[in-house]
């Protein structure tokens, strides 16, 4: 389930090994920070598979120590040169794509949609996310999404060139200071805009908004929804009609950040008492999030609701899903690893006879598309929204 250990085999690349490494650093048993060390630390998509599988019957936190290790290293100024590019772009242009901020609104040009950053009001703000804003091949999906919502009678607006990154990548790379700034300013903007819900198509954005934003202790006067949750509602309310049938055998890939990583993490605060000799009793009890509360059914329900579609499941799904490989900056900085991870998943999809992989995150889609292009595979990749549009 863990791409990193599967690919590199040394124990250090596994969740357990990463904890051993982090502990060694924290306890000062590992002074020299080698390039190999950084390589190990960042050749990990922070997909959370280790965390979910460990919590199959234990109470260990594995993912957050991985974050902490990165924050610790970043604080000392250790990271990959590629990361500094991303972070600079974030600081200067509010995006991680190394593109000018002024172009951020371009994807929506020509759309008749409210721009909340200009003081217009709407019920729902649609957060496209960096990739949808700047990836010409994918931004069409963002446009389709907005039109889809409008067709369904949703009072939706966007933030045009004033939309900014969710901070997810910064957080996962250990640049938590940078993350806090983006998270807080997003919350401020959305509160100020007075929207009732923030809807995003980017699972990475959704994951961080759901699981980490709340930890900042800022009041969030809005509900965070992933587009699949919102569309699922609309379909069930009959506001979206799917009449065109699509004859296809598809499988669904769970984006980590929509699934196991969208569950809020509750850091434990309290006192540890020793009872029965050494028994460590935490008061209050520590809340363990095992990843099975992620968004798993809505996207599947949407797919099932498309006439003619046959949904076949892969072996590794939901909280045990295999990562697409793009997460935590790996796509931008260590693409070879990202593509390898994707190819494993593609093989799995083909093994269950799927003609297409349907997913719900631009990063998964981008990475699968790249891997397929590289290998010349014939399998197709869709976003749930693309599927819906075809069926309307």
């Amino acid at each position: 389930m863990c791409p990193s250990i599967t690919r590199y085999n040394f124990h250090t690349y596994s969740g357990g090994g990463r904890m051993a490494l982090g502990l060694a650093l924290a306890e000062g048993r590992l002074e020299d920070i080698t390039d190999e060390l950084l390589n190990i630390v960042y050749r990990c998509t922070a997909c959370g598979a280790c965390d979910s599988s460990c919590k199959y019957n234990s109470e260990l936190e594995v993912l957050w120590p991985i974050y902490s290790t990165r924050a610790y290293l970043a604080g000392m100024g250790y990271f990959l040169p590629e990361h500094s590019m991303i972070i600079d772009s974030l600081r200067k242009e509010d995006n991680i794509m190394m593109k000018p901020k002024t172009d951020r609104g371009k994807w929506a040009e020509g759309l008749k949609v409210k721009d909340l950053s200009r003081g217009e009001k709407a019920e729902v703000v649609y957060h496209a996310g960096c990739l949808y804003c700047y990836d010409p091949e994918l931004s069409i999906i963002a446009r389709e999404t907005v039109t889809l919502l409008q067709k369904a009678g949703v009072d939706v607006g966007i933030r045009g060139s004033q939309e900014s990154c969710c901070g997810s990548i910064a957080f996962q790379l250990g640049f938590q200071g940078e993350f806090i700034k983006f998270a807080e300013s997003n919350i401020d903007d959305w509160n100020a805009a007075g929207v009732s819900s923030v809807v995003t198509s980017c699972a990475c954005g959704f994951g961080i908004m759901k699981s980490v934003y709340p930890l900042l202790g800022k009041e969030m006067k809005f509900e965070v929804l992933h587009i699949t949750q919102y569309l699922d509602r609309l379909i069930k309310e009959g506001k979206i009609k799917l009449d065109r049938s699509i004859k296809s055998r598809v499988t669904y890939h769970d984006p980590c950040n929509l699934g196991r990583k969208s569950e809020i993490y509750i850091p434990w605060k309290g006192i540890e008492k020793k009872v029965l000799g050494q028994f460590i009793l935490r008061e209050p009890e520590k809340v363990i999030c095992r990843g099975w509360n992620g968004v798993y059914e809505p996207p599947r329900d949407i797919i099932r609701s498309v006439p003619g579609i046959e949904l076949v499941e892969m072996e590794r799904i939901k909280e045990y899903s295999w990562c697409c490989g793009a997460g935590a900056g790996v796509k931008q900085c260590l693409d070879d690893f990202a593509l390898w991870t994707a190819s494993e998943r593609i093989a799995e999809a083909k093994s269950v006879g799927a003609e297409a992989i349907v997913t719900a995150c631009p990063w998964c889609e981008r990475n699968f598309k790249d891997a397929i292009a590289a290998s010349g595979d014939d399998i197709l990749v869709y976003d749930v929204v693309e599927l819906l549009r075809q069926a309307m």
Binding site: G75, G77, Y78, P81, E82, H83, M85, D88, G177, K181
Partner: protein
């Protein structure tokens, strides 16, 4: 032409308030987790100035940094941006130096490098905000010094600089060699590219100790730091409100008038 740019590694001045902590006894700021140090912003402008000159006339640009612990992944950035060589003076003894001490060490390093036609620094560093080092380097090297530059060009052996004034700017000319301290108006350091990163890996980096500069210990500080503290901002914000926007606005205006602030 040889250009030296002095860059300083500082705690990220844009770190969130919550992250900024001070060790009162040690009289120093505590490096936070999750917020890496950065190259002082004005020093990045200085790098950009140097690279602009390089673009126009061709030059060898050397970035020079001094500190007790220097993070390679941060100081390599100039190389990726187009600087040709990186010289680090990393020495435990170079922990907290005052501006004049740093200047004399940097000057010594510049001599060892073989001098410079132009030395660029930021107008001030984002930690102590003093704005002394640049001028002091000039004095150490007996060079003319032009501060707070917003535009730099070199023509036939002279630099032409627009230096920022409170009510505009003045155009000055100086013979080479000289020291120029740079303002943010000059423009941000260019974006680092992938190719840049790759080429950076091949560029020379030398790390020296004070002893390599024939310095046993840094010069004593000219000023003494007695105290370093985070000011208790009296967080008493009087929130003005009324029946409606109109009323609220009027209340505010009157309040300010009472306090004779208008």
């Amino acid at each position: 032409m040889q250009i030296v740019v002095c860059i300083k590694q500082v705690l990220d001045p844009e770190m969130p308030y919550s992250a900024f902590k001070i060790d009162a006894d040690g009289k120093r700021a505590i490096p936070p987790q999750g917020t890496p140090p950065v190259i002082s912003p004005y020093d990045e402008n200085a790098l950009e100035a140097a690279l602009q000159v390089k673009d126009a006339h061709g030059a060898t640009v050397i970035a020079l940094s001094l500190g007790s612990k220097l993070a390679r992944s941060i100081l390599n950035k100039p190389l990726a941006a187009g600087v040709d060589e990186l010289v680090l003076i990393e020495d435990p003894a170079a922990g907290d130096l005052d501006s004049f001490a740093s200047a004399s060490i940097l000057a010594a390093a510049i001599r060892k490098i073989g001098g410079a036609d132009v030395v660029f620094t930021g107008r001030q560093a984002a930690d102590w905000d003093a704005g002394i080092a640049g001028c002091a380097i000039a004095e150490e090297l007996k060079m003319p010094c032009i501060t707070v530059a917003r535009k730099v060009s070199v023509q036939n052996g002279m630099v032409r600089v627009e230096r920022l004034l409170s009510d505009g700017f003045e155009v000055v000319e100086s013979p080479l060699p000289c020291v120029i301290t740079v303002d943010s108006d000059l423009g941000e350091l260019r974006q680092v590219t992938m190719q840049g990163l790759i080429s950076a890996k091949k560029k020379p980096v030398s790390a020296w100790k004070l002893s390599d500069l024939k310095l046993e210990s840094p010069p004593p500080p000219r000023c003494e730091l007695l105290e370093l503290y985070i000011p208790k901002r009296k967080r008493v914000c009087e929130i003005i409100s009324g029946e409606n926007a109109e009323d609220t606005a009027v209340k505010l205006a009157d309040r300010l008038f009472e306090e004779s602030l208008l």
